[in-house]
Symmetry: C2
Subunit: 403 residues, 2 copies
């Protein structure tokens, strides 16, 4: 018998969003007349800027002409997009080299695939967390050290809780799911810790464009980060690219471990196991980083943040226990009446026809918590608020023991 | 210090195609007036069918409208494309279930990423081989067993050379780089061997649409294959999609190893580490599998095969030792005058301004061999033939010891 990766048996059967969709679809199937409000998954809902789509269409059209036909893209991206990213980082005084940037088709892919570069390690992950960090680390067989993000620590992790040792450390700021965001001092502590302990930080800045407080957008704004941190970025939330697929990661040139260079290794890994992102898609991403593009994308981001604000206001008025943040499309709050996450999920679905994400889906630290998403459609947000305001939670709400 | 994946140090520094491109670019830089003929990399050069591009453009355009905007695609693909693939396989009497099909963004990705599902194993790989099988297996830390494909065995591997044991077995037919293709009997031997030894075959059929002899296109045409084989397929060569990015893999439902199900594991892996292929691209791929689409794509395939035929004829006339096959876009031949692969590469580049792929790039079994590609532009093929015919190989050609 060949050897199979037994670590898969340590995973929950279903990825959280799959489970949510299954319960949602089942309910809709059984209640065809009911209009469900989707306040769950972190997927964008607003159309892309017209000009951006035009650019992509124009380039795509060239694929049926002989003169401008293009085959394989370079595995790590076209220079024009890398140059645009270099300029984008310069706006915040971060200097990147072009060959530190690797264009990819999804931050979720890179987050997991970069574990190919490592042996077995202690991996530090926030609890609750974006599930891909956890699941990918389990698949790879790593030992996982969970650090709780709670009301007590303001949902901001600190390395003080860790023993002096070398770790792979996943950090996400603004955070998915909580929305908490590192300020300069709290992120500096992590960079200093990583440099002292020879740890590697994997910094996920997928939501950086939602920041409005004075907080670092990129980890390389912190001194010393280039010696200890990989950064994962994406056009998914910044430019509404969840259905288009483009992202990038930054591997500083001088990240060396045990005689091996992470930048070269990632280059080798991608050249072997990845075939690049289509030219026309990279052209669209490049527009998103132009002055016009940034402004246009910002309009959508503002709408999403307003959505989050509206739902947050409503929950606060109803005395829900809500995490207040200015830097995130997400709303993280405690389930009412001490309900478990899934109890509240089923309750919301059955009584309000609202779909959210149970906090427990982000790990045990999310139990009794819940996430709404400002990426929902405005009309769904408005209708959800109406339902939440008019239908009070029945204090004697009977929990279905099977749910 | 954290643990790094030391297996990377076992890899050649450069992926073969990267090295080829570097030497090519250096030569062009130093010889700006010379027109290079690209007969190397296996990248398509003919434009896509107009109707296919129109369909994709139309769907892409909808991304700037509110009504039809689409976010994340389903991780494993839209049903319409899976249904089209089910029908495509039916044409050869292979019955697939929809949920045995996983849409992806590249066969090269799946070839490497599927090793996530396995522990350490003995991996059987042809020598010479498409490098991604080898490099991915090295990165994962597997023991590699090379089987030579030579003139003596007609470039067709047989399991007879293997000890009775369980293996992961990469097979590619029509073969890259040699072009050799399994007939029913020779592939049946592998399926029987795998079932007997509880091995798993990873069957790469990326070039199936180039087959004209009576050979299996899909491994599932062989009885028993659903109990031992994963199939990797791609639109890259079939539909000219190298720059568009769409592929798929087939994991039969009943592939169980040690209590774990490979289909479920791959589903879990992709839901965790992959975010799907854009809707509009899947629509284009779907057109490629329609009756009209197949006919239109076939036109390009015929041109590529004619290219291969022309260059093969020329080489045969010049008394080169060429592998004759009807089922492949590639031309595999022995370097003249006992030159090594890289010697001949440099010779062709410097003397003929022709870029090909040194056989050694596909492994030690490719030393003294060379690959031309019928994917080259027709005008380059014609011009290359002229150069090869007029400029004879100087028998006293001085080998540059540094090359």
């Amino acid at each position: 018998m060949i050897n199979v990766n037994k670590n898969f048996s340590l995973l929950e059967n279903n990825y959280i969003f799959t489970e949510v969709n299954q319960r949602r679809d089942k309910y809709q199937q059984e209640n065809k007349d009911k209009k469900l409000l989707q306040l769950g998954v972190g997927d964008v809902s607003l159309p892309l800027p017209k000009k951006m789509v035009k650019i992509m269409q124009k380039e795509l059209k060239k694929q049926c002409g002989k003169k401008h036909f293009r085959g394989y893209p370079p595995e790590n991206g076209y220079d024009f997009l890398k140059n645009a990213i270099v300029d984008y980082y310069k706006r915040r005084n971060v200097i990147l080299q072009k060959d530190e940037i690797f264009i990819s088709n999804g931050a979720g892919c890179d987050v997991g695939n970069l574990l190919d570069l490592f042996g077995l390690n202690k991996v530090v992950i926030q609890n609750p967390t974006y599930p891909a960090y956890y699941d990918s680390s389990i698949i790879a067989g790593n030992e996982i050290i969970l650090l709780s993000a709670t009301k007590e620590n303001n949902y901001i992790l600190s390395p003080d809780e860790l023993e002096f040792d070398s770790y792979l450390i996943y950090l996400c700021s603004p955070n998915n799911p909580t929305g908490a965001t590192f300020d300069y001092a709290s992120l500096k502590k992590w960079v200093d810790f990583a440099n002292k302990t020879k740890s590697i930080i994997i910094f996920d800045c997928a939501y950086e464009s939602f920041i409005e407080d004075n907080c670092p957008h990129f980890i390389y704004e912190i001194e010393g980060a280039k010696n200890c941190a990989i950064e994962i970025a994406s056009f998914s939330k910044t430019a509404g690219f969840t259905g288009i697929r483009c992202s990038y990661s930054v591997f500083p040139k001088n990240l060396n471990i045990d005689g091996l260079n992470l930048n070269s290794m990632w280059n080798r890994r991608q050249c072997t196991k990845f075939n690049g992102v289509p030219y026309f898609i990279q052209k669209g991403a490049c527009y998103a980083l132009s002055s016009d593009g940034i402004l246009e994308c910002k309009k959508n981001i503002i709408t999403y943040k307003e959505n989050a604000f509206l739902i947050k206001q409503c929950l606060k008025e109803q005395k829900y226990d809500v995490l207040d943040t200015n830097n995130s499309p997400y709303v993280w709050f405690k389930c009412p009446n001490n309900m478990s996450s899934w109890e509240y999920f089923d309750y919301l679905l059955n009584e309000y026809q609202i779909v959210g994400i149970p906090g427990i889906g982000f790990g045990s630290g999310g139990e009794n918590y819940f996430r709404f998403s400002g990426f929902a459609k405005r009309e769904d947000i408005v209708e959800a608020i109406k339902r939440i305001k008019t239908k009070k939670i029945p204090p004697n709400y009977e929990v279905n023991p099977k749910s």
